[in-house]
């Protein structure tokens, strides 16, 4: 197991290097220039001389060859310095530190909710296959996977924010500042974020449970006279979870980049909004560093998911 983890960590480093290369050079391929875009949006290039523009290039290191720029960025990251945002005039590390807690807060809440609901509903649907509960759960999961979150967010704002006045229409407060306000503000965005994840998990759990239910060892468990609870919890659920956990791992990764629509609708200052804004502004430092952090998290989560397979299914051996 230890050798496996070490090998995976080495591969992870290689993947991260490849990710940094791709992100860095793809950003360079985009048409336009971050300083020109920034100055253009400020509508002020007319009053800036070429000499001053060149000083800005030097300041942000954009005057150097690409490979040198890449090396400067990577060596800075290794030392804990992610550089300075051209657009925000701010240290990228500070910007990310402002945004990650927000995304994590909403992401973890929705992750917990959609997984619990999804697994329960998927289990119930499978165990009551063909009954109205199964049909209802299947219908809901179809709706969950097909409804656009952007539209759902606006609908929820109209219904629960404007008409019924049950929840705030927009805004975000950190739980450390005001827990009650945070929970109140989180209801609508977390619901939107959870819907698709819940539907996917429910569908996967249902099909996985159905498959496991037809296995010999489950029949053996029933034949031993075990209670329904024991059969379900020990033999069916645990063995059904492997594909579900794979999806959970993907969901955790998507959490960081996938919230952009919700952040836009509910005016939440998360990573998604920062990343999209930075892509449009070609704010290299922010896009590169945020992508690197997200890639690192995704790789670590996948490692944890892979390791968890062994716990869930002792037959799995790590070579």
């Amino acid at each position: 197991m230890t050798a496996y983890i070490i090998r995976r960590l080495i591969i992870a480093v290689v993947i991260l290097i490849i990710v940094t290369l791709i992100v860095f050079f793809v950003m360079q391929l985009l048409p336009g220039d971050p300083l020109v875009i920034f100055l253009g949006q400020q509508a002020g290039t007319g009053s800036m001389s070429q000499e001053q523009l060149e000083q800005l290039y030097i300041r942000y290191g954009l005057d150097k060859p690409l490979i040198v720029q890449y090396w400067n960025w990577i060596s800075g990251v290794v030392k804990g310095n992610m550089g300075e945002s051209i657009y925000y005039h701010e240290n990228v590390g500070k910007l990310l530190l402002e945004r990650f807690p927000v995304t994590l807060d909403l992401g973890i809440k929705s992750f917990i909710i959609y997984n619990i609901l999804g697994i329960v509903m998927g289990m119930v649907a499978a165990l009551r296959r063909g009954k109205w509960l199964d049909t209802f759960a299947t219908l809901l999961s179809y709706i969950g996977v097909s409804i656009p979150v952007f539209w759902l967010g606006l609908l929820l704002i109209y219904l629960f924010g404007l008409r019924l006045d049950w929840f705030p229409i927009a805004g975000y407060t950190l739980p450390t500042e005001d827990l009650w306000k945070n929970l109140h503000q989180s209801v609508l965005p977390v619901f939107c974020l959870s819907l698709m994840g819940w539907a996917v998990i429910a569908r996967q759990t249902r099909s996985s449970v159905l498959e496991v239910m037809s296995q010999d060892y489950v029949r053996t468990a029933w034949s031993k006279g075990l209670t329904e609870r024991k059969v379900i919890m020990r033999h069916i659920l645990k063995n059904s979870l492997i594909p579900v956990i794979t999806i959970m791992g993907i969901g955790l990764g998507l959490m960081f980049g996938g919230q952009v629509f919700i952040e836009q609708v509910f005016a939440i200052p998360g990573v998604g909004r920062l990343l999209v804004g930075s892509i449009f502004a070609q704010d290299y430092q922010v896009v590169q560093s945020a992508t690197l952090v997200i890639a690192t998290i995704v790789i670590l989560i996948n490692l944890i998911v892979d390791i968890s397979y062994g716990w869930l299914d002792p037959r799995i051996r790590y070579g």
């Binding site: 100055l39 509508a43 002020g44 701010e90 109205w132 606006l154 924010g161 927009a170 449009f280």
Partner: protein, 556 residues
């Protein structure tokens, strides 16, 4: 038999499933209908969600209250001119004031007024610009505004490279504590704008936060200025949460006695217009400052909200690439064909829902530069076709129209394409995200044709100089200024008397129109949306002055 049983069983399940689906869809439909019917009454009546729409009307300004509003973005730099754009300046208006500010009276007459200075004088012969400062003006940090502070501010703006005509400055003197004199090499009637409209920040605050390097361009000072502002304005910065909100509190030592009326202002930063509109209708905010469209104005006006605007707003135009010698837009026949191809009245009416005003010439009718007897090019697609044929485009003139990828511009782009195609052009729309769009317009240039606004300044000579002249504040990269225009520009800035400036502005605007250097489309008015208990005229003075100190609210 067994197989038939299975099939029947599946059929039964399938029918049951369909029934359930029907029931579910029916419930959904009924739910949606209830939802829609719930929304109906608000279409035509005053907003009923909050009692705040029925204020206690008072006779005059009332002090107190926190104004809650929505803006679409926040400042990227608060108090270092070298890295501030127009957007940053506008977000800082509550805290920062200028030596000279624009003013528009109730009859619409406009000009410059001394603001932080009691008076100012420009001597074209003696080549001096003299500011006589007001006494007793304090910054938010308690320091005093005096001649040394103003000189330091001017020097910082020169050092940062963002003071237009800085190369004309010979020296800056401070003969006494309240007088600043700039000696220059050559007179320009744009100095009121370029030098008078100068933001003033606290020198003491900068030096206290600039670290060891106290220079005007100290790196530490610039880093501090990103999210700190210490000005003389009616409101002090209380809190700024990037991309979330900006909060202002009343400055008790403000120099205009009795002002500001408000105790503070809280602006949420929201880019999604539906969300902002919902916040307003729910009574969560008092004013929606930015990011609304003609559709929003119409809907909210019908619901009883106050839609307010003063200036003609942002003029929209089509600009051909006249920098490229190979461009088709070098041919005046193609440029004129573009004018004849468009039914601007109909387009403005349809796109602006009655709020946009079609523009037949460069300047609006209220401004210098408007020529009442100018023969304009009305909608005439046949004439457009003829001109294109004369220019060698009998089989259609291919055009790539660069448009910013935001809903209002996309709609306008589609409409323009329709008219142009019908008149013999063959238009391909190039929808660009904001970064690429402005990067092209102000930076690398556009290839063919672009739909882009131009500004509205205190008078139209300033507008011309800022946008069209050979020494612009906002340089549209593919817009050429031929030698005859450059010569007129040089002549124009030397005119000191107002009547001469008016006549010159007419000449310049006539030149632009007759040469069809650009194709003006319509004016998109700048408006605010608020409850009727909010009393303000914040757009009266245009885009470079917002008099937040005069805003007040009825008790509500």
């Amino acid at each position: 038999m067994i197989q038939t049983g299975i099939v029947n069983s599946h059929k039964g399940e399938s029918i049951k499933m369909k029934k359930l689906l029907l029931v579910f869809l029916s419930i959904m439909m009924i739910g949606v209908m209830i939802l829609v019917s719930c929304g109906e009454p608000e279409e035509t009546t005053q907003p009923t969600t909050q009692p705040t729409t029925q204020p206690t009307t008072t006779a005059g300004p009332v002090s107190g209250g926190i104004l809650r509003g929505v803006i679409t973005g926040g400042p990227l730099m608060m108090s270092y001119r070298g890295q501030m754009g127009p957007g940053d300046h506008s977000y800082m208006f509550p805290a920062v004031e200028y030596l000279v500010e624009p003013y528009v009276d109730e009859q619409g007459n406009r000009g410059w007024i001394p603001f932080l200075c009691e008076s100012y004088a420009i001597d074209p012969v003696g080549k001096t610009f003299t500011y006589n400062l007001r006494d007793g003006i304090k910054f938010h940090d308690g320091s005093i505004l005096d001649a040394e502070v103003v000189k330091w501010n001017i020097q910082q703006q020169i050092d940062s490279g963002w003071w237009q005509d800085a190369d004309k400055v010979v020296s800056i003197d401070t003969p006494d504590n309240s007088t600043v004199v700039i000696h220059f090499t050559e007179y320009s009637n744009q100095y009121e704008f370029n030098w008078g409209w100068t933001a003033i920040w606290s020198k003491a605050a900068w030096e206290a936060n600039a670290g060891a390097d106290k220079s005007t361009t100290s790196e530490q000072g610039i880093a501090w200025a990103v999210d700190h502002v210490v000005g003389t304005g009616p409101f002090k910065l209380k809190e700024y949460k990037r991309d979330v909100s900006i909060t202002w509190e009343k400055f008790d030592d403000y120099w205009q006695e009795g002002k500001p009326y408000l105790d503070g202002m809280e602006f949420q930063i929201i880019t999604e217009s539906t969300t902002a509109s919902s916040l307003l209708q729910a009574g969560d905010i008092d004013m929606w400052n930015q990011g609304h469209s003609a559709q929003d104005w119409k809907e909210l006006e019908e619901k009883g909200f106050l839609i307010k605007g003063y200036w003609p707003g942002l003029p929209m135009a089509l600009w051909g690439n006249t920098m490229d010698p190979e461009s088709k837009w070098q041919d005046i026949r193609v440029r004129e064909a573009l004018e004849y191809a468009l039914d601007k009245e109909t387009m403005a009416q349809a796109l602006g829902l009655g709020y946009y005003v079609a523009s037949a010439q460069i300047a609006p009718s209220t401004e210098w530069g408007y020529i009442s007897n100018l023969p304009t090019r009305g909608y005439d697609p046949e004439k457009a076709r003829d001109l294109l044929a004369q220019a060698g485009y009998e089989d259609g003139c291919p055009v790539t129209l660069l448009v910013q990828a935001v809903p209002a511009s996309i709609d306008a782009g589609e409409s323009i394409k329709g008219y142009m195609d019908a008149a013999g052009f063959n238009v391909t729309l190039d929808l660009a995200d904001t970064g690429r769009f402005f990067g092209s317009v102000f930076g690398t240039g556009w290839d063919d044709l672009v739909m882009m606004f131009y500004g509205m300044d205190v008078n139209y000579l300033a507008t011309y100089m800022s946008w069209f002249s050979s020494d612009p504040k906002s340089n549209l990269a593919s817009f050429a200024r031929p030698p005859e225009q450059v010569a007129m520009d040089k002549e124009a800035v030397l005119i000191a008397d107002t009547q001469g400036q008016i006549e010159m502005t007419e000449r310049l605007c006539r030149y632009l129109y007759e040469e069809a250097r650009l194709c003006p489309l319509w004016w998109v008015p700048s408006k605010t949306v608020s409850y009727k208990y909010v009393h303000h005229e914040i757009l009266r003075h245009g885009f470079i002055r917002v008099d937040w100190e005069n805003v007040w609210m009825d008790p509500h």
